[in-house]
Symmetry: D2
Subunit: 298 residues, 4 copies
């Protein structure tokens, strides 16, 4: 199979390698001249036999939307665009409808795997018609983990089904991470237990909480027992936010995942904003202990 | 009525004044020679006619427990001890049973009012037998707000009923404060609204969220529009914690009050502890943006 | 002042009365022939002197959007549309821009007050230019509570500022209600306290938790001590959801308000959906107590 | 090694088998004559060589406390009691101190593994002195998973260290389960995705959320796609509650784990109690949609 790949960053670069290792012919385009195979979308499209399959693997939002708009100009009837980035699922319906005006197919595909994907394979969740999916299936087979039916799933025929599933995956991930983090903080805080890294390490076999995330966490704890080298600061990606928004839109209670998201928000505040309001009310009662800002720091 | 009052701090001192203004004879004891009327518990007890009524208004826990133990030695059949401090409700059963061994009565009384109580009256929630309560009723009448049946309630005959009700009051208070704080943070953050203090001020009449807490908050916002002079830091008292503990013990879901308590906990952390664990797991994925501690700061 | 009022339901009908009581000339239109003054938008607009001011007070979303589109056809340069319904703040920018194409002004106004507004006045939060606001000011003055500067606030010149403030007001309201509800459930559950309605009643004076919501709640508790006559079921309006969505979009932590929203979602589920998944995992462990559905009920 | 085992239920029975398979001599006692090896604690103790090691594997609380009190009478200097049940960590200090009065050692051991433990081994987290632990080490080695250093950890020398770690493990488990449950509910609710069981199944390889819990959940979903056969109802054990209580006592924020606990509480309510209060306040506003109880059902 021939495939065009737009975006050769952390994810795309490794995916090109994995597909080539599987025998696919991959033509890669990136803004970075050092890593790309062709120097324009036009050259990329020209290098592909029909039906042309182009996988877009760049930042979600405007970059992906405008690239797909460009591809609409370059591709034609029977060709296929795959959006493998972290696009919001609502973008997919718009992109699919636009491409369909020229008979171009569309598949959205959530990709999980990070830096481990090159070696272990990527988990792929895709949405779109069976016919469209068939055109990109050799790439899916190359990218997914070997020797297992897992790691590749058709989430639905509606555009966005794949990104929706990937989005929920990330929401779940947030709360799983928060679960370990809360337990770790409690174990760190109390005097009754010693040897917290080895407690977590012991959980990797035979317990209910064993997981790949736990394995990763143990490696970090063994390298830096109290995580002194890290700041208590976590960014969040769009997926976590969109998961909670989708939950609210659908009247689905989501207390643990939303709590995990909010914990990340708080971690990024220099001073805790809402608590300033709490402090103000406590000051209003009179007599409560509050802390004034340092002169000149407000 | 004659009453002995132990503890003449921020609360007790004003309560002595309010009771005296109402015509009661109050004998006050404190460790502080500047403010006390007598210099020992013995003298305080000696100054009271029988049946002697002694109101304890000192820090909860060991100080209150040991003072009540001392009073048990000094008082006798038919006398009464009132615990008006912030004792945990489970202490009351122990104290009541101990005093009962000598025929001394016991009333527990949660007191709300802060620095506003002297002028406006204190809200009183008490537990104990009707007979015991009758002995202290003139003091209750003097302390409570005037011209209203509100502000005084018999919460139950079981020792601790009053402190339990006061504890729940404080739990509710936490979540109400958090409600305003979350709304304020959002209004502060967005560009679409100006004039946030006046928005809150306008809510004081005609809206669903009008309350005394709102009034206090508006005064603070008008004095310091963005609360620049305050740190986002809030302590918590025992009552908030005990409310959630009692909820858990009774299988009562308490998501908003517990969230309010946890928000205070987080506000007191220099670096966000749980988020260090999140950062560690993200570091384990590879490729995620995390922040390392400054050299020498860990 | 002359004003056209579209929508004469629970809110609009009483607002017409309050404005007429203040001496305004109100021309009301509704789909209901029984209550309306004119039988078409055309007649309503024709009845107004220039500059014409039309207040839209109908359900948010499509009904409001299409009515404003109709008014755009009927009104002209210098006229004004006021959206007093519960529109999402993002709708306002669209409506304002559309009306501006014909030189028609726009003010968005969040209105609080419910059935109490007729007598006590409505709290009004508005957004728009000072010039536009001036045209509707006599109506604002008639509707707001009397004898107070509160109850009327200019939230910003950006369209949507008023609805945004009203939206946050409702979010705060959710968490305040949840605060009382959680405290009430705990007091109801335990044996240590009796007389829960009187405990809440006593809090109306002298405490930190006193509020108008508390007053309402006490009336209900006195009429039905254990609320046996009510189902534990609560709907939610758009404002609560939009508040949390806006918080997420702005990276504002909102744990208590979101918890309050989720509690309402859960209350409307016949069977607890997420807990079916928990039960499934527990079944997977083996040995845990789970409950099977009744035959034929699944 | 010889060991006495008290409690031969679901856990204890399989543990006896696993220890015997490893070559240990196990004397088991239970109230059930069908499964026990001896018919009294006296006989059990008599059957053991010194130093005698007795493992208690019965329900936490009063049963465990009274059994340990009985063993104190029967054992002597140098013997050892192991509490392998789900005791609260605060019980362990009391039991250890009591046994120490006669020179009897004590080890507390949290055990994870459920019905899978017989085959795969049990994860063991223990607290106590190294000398005491050495006496029971052959049993630990027999019970733990084979061919791994994981599954056995010395959590500290303070009595209760093991149960504390196990308690936190269970708290983490609650939030992990809640994470999957919330994600599942959202995927079930929306139309955009089909084939939810296969989405979860696909996640078992290559994703961030892969775990043993996920494996269990997939088996259940494949057997009953929409979990129609299960009621949305989940009990909670002491460990989840104690985890949150310990967090509160130590000022550790625990929003996700507490949310998971509260979700279980709600799932067990026939009618949502707190929401009755919300409905009452909404009824007080006037005009809101609430639901009255059916006549005769209150």
């Amino acid at each position: 199979m021939h495939i065009g790949l737009i975006g050769l960053g952390r994810m795309g670069g490794n995916m090109r390698t994995r597909m080539r290792n599987a025998g696919l012919t991959v033509v890669g385009y990136s803004r970075d001249p050092q890593v790309r195979d062709v120097d324009s979308l036009e050259s990329l499209v020209a290098a592909l036999p029909s039906p042309k399959v182009v996988w877009v693997m760049i930042p979600a939002g405007e970059p992906t939307r405008s690239t797909i708009a460009d591809l609409k100009e370059l591709l034609g009837e029977g060709d296929l665009v795959v959006d493998g980035g972290n696009s919001k699922y609502t973008d997919d319906a718009v992109n699919a409808a636009s491409l369909a005006e020229k008979g171009i197919g569309f598949v959205d595909c959530g990709v999980s795997g990070g830096v481990w994907g090159l070696q272990n394979g990527y988990a792929l969740m895709y949405g779109g018609s069976a016919d469209d999916a068939a055109k990109v299936m050799p790439a899916f087979e190359a990218l997914k983990p070997a020797d297992t039916p897992d790691g590749l799933v058709h989430c639905g025929t509606t555009p966005g089904a794949g990104h929706f599933a990937k989005m929920v995956h990330n929401g779940i991930e947030y709360a799983m991470m928060q679960a370990y983090a809360e337990g770790w903080e409690l174990l760190e805080k109390v005097d009754i237990v010693d040897n917290v890294p080895e407690i977590f390490a012991s959980w990797r076999t035979g317990t209910v909480v064993r997981s790949w995330l736990l394995d990763l966490f143990v490696d970090q704890l063994r390298a830096d027992e109290h995580l002194d080298g890290l700041r208590g600061y976590a960014e969040d990606s769009g997926e976590g936010r969109w998961t909670v928004e989708a939950a609210i839109e659908n009247a689905v209670p989501m207390p643990a995942i939303s709590a995990s998201l909010f914990a990340r928000f708080v971690s990024r505040q220099e001073d805790d904003v809402a608590m300033k309001a709490i402090a103000a009310m406590r000051a209003g009662f009179g007599g409560h202990s509050i802390q004034r800002s340092e002169p000149g720091t407000a």
